[in-house]
Structure formats: C-alpha cells, structure tokens
Symmetry: C3
Subunit: 171 residues, 3 copies
C-alpha cells in the first residue's frame, strides 16, 4: 500500500520544507505544482520554492486536473508532492461557478488517492482560523478548502500540522 | 459530575460533526443553536447543519440567554450541544455596546457551567490566527471570543482542537 | 546552558499569561516590550498587560534593537520575556523598506539567542491561518513573521502553541 501523507499549516509555517524532507526518504521524486505565475509576486514565490527544491525533481504544472496528473505519473516515480491543495481550490473557483463541478473534481481526485500509482504527499493550508471574511467569495473559499482538507486528511495514512516550522502529528 | 466538552477549530474544520459524534454516546440529546437566520446564506448553513444532525435532537434557538436555556433544559435530556460560542459572542456585541454587560452574560454562563443539569458540549471557533483586522470591531470580537474560549476551555473536563477534520486533544 | 522558551498562538489565546507563568519559576525577571503606545487602544492594551504582570519585573521598552536590549540585560536578571516578536516584525517593516535590513536585524537577534546572558521566553503570534490578505504589505508581514517564527522556534529549547488558553507542547 502506498503512503498518503497530508500536511497542513498556516502561511510560512514550514509546510513545503517538511514536504521536501518527507520526500527525501524516497528515491525518484516528482513535484506537482498547482500554482500558475499570474504576476511578478507569484513568479518570485514559485522560483524561490523551485530553488529550495533543487534538482532531482520531475516537475509537473497542473492547475486543475491534478487527478489526471497523478494517474499519468511516469511508472518509475516513487513519490509526488502536490503543492498545494489550497491553490488548487482557488483555481477551481476561478474556473467554475458551479459547486457541483468543483465537487466533481474533488471526487475524481479522491478516487485517484484511493489507489495512487506512487506515494503521495499533499500540502494544504489552514485558512479558517481568522476572522470571518467580509466577502462571500472568501467565505466560499474557506468552505471549499475546508471540505478538501477534511476529505484528504481522512484518506491520509499520516497527517501533520506545521506550526512555526515544527511538525505536529495529527494522525 | 457532568462532562463539559470544549471543541474549537477553524471554519469547516469538522467541529460540528465531531460534536455530533461526541453526543452520540448519550441517549437523549438537545441542540442549542445560537445562530439566527438573518439572510439566505445563513438559512442555508443552518438548514445544512440541521440535516446533518438528523432526527433525535430536541432543538432550542437562543441567541443571547444561553445560560437560561441550559438551566431550563428538560430533566430527561442527557446532553446538550451549544453551537456555537463564537456566534453567541457576535450576538452579544450586536445587542450591547457595553463590555460590562457582555461580560456579565459570560459570568452567568460560567456559573451555569459549574453545575449544569446535563452534560454539555461547547462548540467554539479559532478566530485569532490570521492577520490583525483593520477595524476595531473585529479586533474587539477577537478579544471577546478569546476571553470566552479561555474561560470555557479552563472549565471544561475535556478540550479538543479540530484541524482538517481530525480532533487533537488539548486536555 | 540557558533555556529558550518559544510561545506562539492566536490573539487572546493566553500566550502572555503562560509566559508569566513560565517566568515565575525564575527569581529576578525582566520584561522586554516591543510595542509602542501610538494610540489610545494600544495604551489600554499595554497598561492592561502591565497590570497583569504586577510588580517584580524590570521593564525595558525597545521596538527595534531587541538584540542589544538582551545583550545589555543587567547581570542579575535570571529571565527575560520578549513580548512580542510579531509587533517587532511590524516595527521593522514600519522602519525599513529593505528586506535585507530587516533580515539583518533577525540575524543579529539569532546570534544573541545562541548565547543569551539569561533565560529567554519569546512570545510570538500565529498570523498565517486566515484567508490570504488582499494587500501586499499584509502578505509580506505574514512572510516575515513566519520566517521569524520558524528561526526562533528552531533555536528554542522548548516550544508551545497556546490554544484557548491551553498550552500544547510543540517540542
């Protein structure tokens, strides 16, 4: 059985670094980036993460169809880091108005996670521990992210919360 | 001695589901809802929670006087879920300008929690782990919610933090 | 070797109270406040914290050069509470535009923490578990705070997350 490691935490809590650390126990590694570089700030953040990763990663960029991207992973890959589910949630909301369509993406992803072709490390974010946002879109984003987090964490073989760079085992 | 179970976590972290799960160990159950359906979004959220609960709950709606609502609980009730303290805090702020009045409500609630007529499950929220809000009302809301959380968690026989649907024992 | 205790948590999560509790195991105590009283609300908050501390604290106010303030601590001090790193981060951002300058302050602080003249209790905040802020300054603030938290928590001999007033051991 493959490992499914779920990592969550706030912004700059050390999630991506811990994901790389978890992946280091494996040989052939892939990185599935869900972020797209829309502006300069995002380009800088993506580049910074890429530098932290160094070589040795087969990189795929996929904003929406992460189910397919994992299914189509080359057969010699031992582990893939999916970084991150929160950006994926934002991409889905940007692409589709319909909750049903968004949830169908999540369902297909969950199906792939049941029998993934390699070990999977999922990086997500805690976004629901601040003040209730004023605007309805942000509240919807919290709802969708929360559902994604609950479903994927429930399916995971390991789950961790990162806090100030320190991993706490959730399960 | 009655159990006083305190649950907290971010939005969509699985608090209400875990509250139902905790209540399932008891026979005759009540649900004390503090939310009022001001608009369509809230009506949807309330209805959704009601459907998740299913039958088998005696439901009370009380935005402010939750101390009285618990005191007046029918004698055959084994457990009441109070969902949630954060909405109650918002209701108190909406109803009263005076901090003293708000704190007097909290004091009366704490008195009832010392010797409740049945087991109590308190649902609250983490709202203070984001950026400091721009407006003074939101900062005051964080303060009041924080005080309520500290006092009720201190009085609790069990406390849990929900994170991505997974309960972590606080005490 | 001196103790370096790192405390984090949301607003009103009981960090400052727990810091006082940690300090109570020491004899001669100092308090290094990073906040400046710019307005009435801040004055009230600072005064409230001061009253909670009571007497028995040698108090220093230093918004920027906390490295020097710790180095220059009187020789008979056993422990200093630094409250808090998040306000320090805000002060640095307010004083300097350059990331390099801000990071040089952090580096000097980290150097002092390697061999502090007394035991140190660091109070910080979780600010990255809400919705991604709209404005770039707030995102930068989350980044800087996150880096400070990761570095200081990594150097700490003990680290705690406060949640609803209850301390959870991080390491």
């Amino acid at each position: 059985m493959k490992n499914l490691i779920y990592l969550t935490g706030g912004a700059r809590s050390g999630k991506s670094s811990f994901a790389l650390q978890c992946a280091d126990t494996y040989d052939r590694k892939a990185f599935l980036a869900t972020a797209e570089a829309f502006d300069e700030e995002m380009q800088r953040r993506i580049l910074k993460h890429k530098e932290e990763r160094g070589d040795g990663y087969y990189t795929i960029e996929e904003p929406l169809h992460i189910d397919r991207a994992i299914s189509a992973m080359p057969g010699d890959i031992d582990v893939v880091i999916v970084d991150c589910l929160t950006v994926w949630a934002g991409n889905l909301m940007h692409a589709f108005d319909s909750d049903e369509v968004i949830m169908s993406y999540l369902e297909r992803f969950m199906t792939v996670l049941k029998e993934p072709p390699c070990n999977v490390i999922l990086v997500s974010n805690e976004v629901g521990m601040g003040i209730v946002p004023d605007n309805a879109m942000a509240r919807k984003f919290r709802d969708i992210t929360g559902i994604i987090n609950q479903k994927t964490a429930a399916a995971a073989t390991q789950a961790w919360l990162l806090c100030s760079g320190i991993p706490m085992r959730l399960k």
